[in-house]
């Protein structure tokens, strides 16, 4: 990039299920512009969608008046994405879904979002906001998947 500066793109969507697709579209356009391969763009889109849905549902409690902020910060070969909500945040490690327990009805069917995010990107970090709000999840995705 020019002068090695970071390039910032921001998108803000209402806390309404379905609008994660707008953030996916924005992230996709940024990643295309950066020259990400198609498969990595798909990984990014799913991770952004899951992070936005969590921010809407768990962070903003689907309160339509609160928006979800997505900040995309591009450098030469990686994209950092912060997905921010107004809730207190969450700081446990993502739970690895146990399909055997789910199929026996011992674990609820849901609860795969954080796991997918972590599995699809190169770095994922959940950061609790100070003062019990303004939490975010921070993802980093590289153009080529490490070890691939």
């Amino acid at each position: 990039m020019i002068d090695g500066k970071n390039t910032l793109v921001e998108v803000r969507i209402p806390s309404r299920l379905g609008f994660e697709k707008v953030a996916m579209g924005t992230a996709e356009s940024v990643a295309r512009l950066m020259g990400f391969p198609a498969a990595r763009i798909e990984d990014l889109k799913t991770a952004v969608a899951e992070a936005c849905i969590n921010a809407m549902e768990h962070g903003n409690k689907l309160n339509d008046k609160l928006s979800v902020g997505v900040v995309l910060s591009a450098t030469d070969d990686e994209l950092e994405v912060k997905v921010m909500d107004n809730g207190p945040g969450f700081q446990a490690a993502p739970h690895q879904p146990d399909i055997d327990r789910k199929m026996r009805g011992e674990e609820e069917a849901r609860g795969m979002g954080m796991f997918l995010i972590q599995a699809l990107v190169d770095e994922a970090e959940w950061v609790k906001g100070s003062r019990g709000s303004d939490s975010y999840v921070r993802l980093v995705i590289r153009m080529e998947r490490e070890g691939e």
Binding site: L17, G18, T46, K102, G105, A109, G111, G113
Partner: protein, 124 residues
């Protein structure tokens, strides 16, 4: 624009009856739209309409967005089908979603097939 639920491409489903090798009855649920938390009717409602002695195919050819809440509903369908001893196979997923479905373990309880023929073969 949809009202109430906001702007979403709600999943729709159509059920087809096929026969596998040896005339074994199969019901295919053909989805279109988005597979999300909004798809309970399309997924579980459709499943309820299927005879319990049919194998079940899930056709994603016309689906281009699936999220984890949608996958959870697919797992609930698989749980019900498992109780009734019905085989389940999925097809029409993009390579990305084949990977995602495999990551969460779905491949251990249902065949994630390359196409409809392979899915039919898997449940026959």
């Amino acid at each position: 624009m949809n009202t109430g639920e906001g702007m979403r491409a709600e999943a729709r489903a159509r059920i087809d009856t096929l026969s596998g090798s040896g005339g074994k009855p199969i019901s295919a649920i053909r989805f279109s739209g988005d597979i999300s938390s909004n798809s309970r009717d399309a997924i579980l409602g459709s499943y309820e309409q299927i005879a319990k002695d049919h194998a079940v195919l899930l056709d994603f050819v016309k689906v281009d967005y699936v999220n984890s809440s949608g996958i959870a509903l697919i797992i609930q369908l698989m749980l019900e089908a498992g109780k009734a001893d019905q085989k389940v196979a999925l097809f029409g997923l993009t390579p990305h979603f084949q990977k995602v479905f495999t990551m969460v373990g779905i491949g251990r309880y249902a065949e994630i097939a390359a196409d409809e023929a392979a899915a039919v073969a898997a449940v026959s």
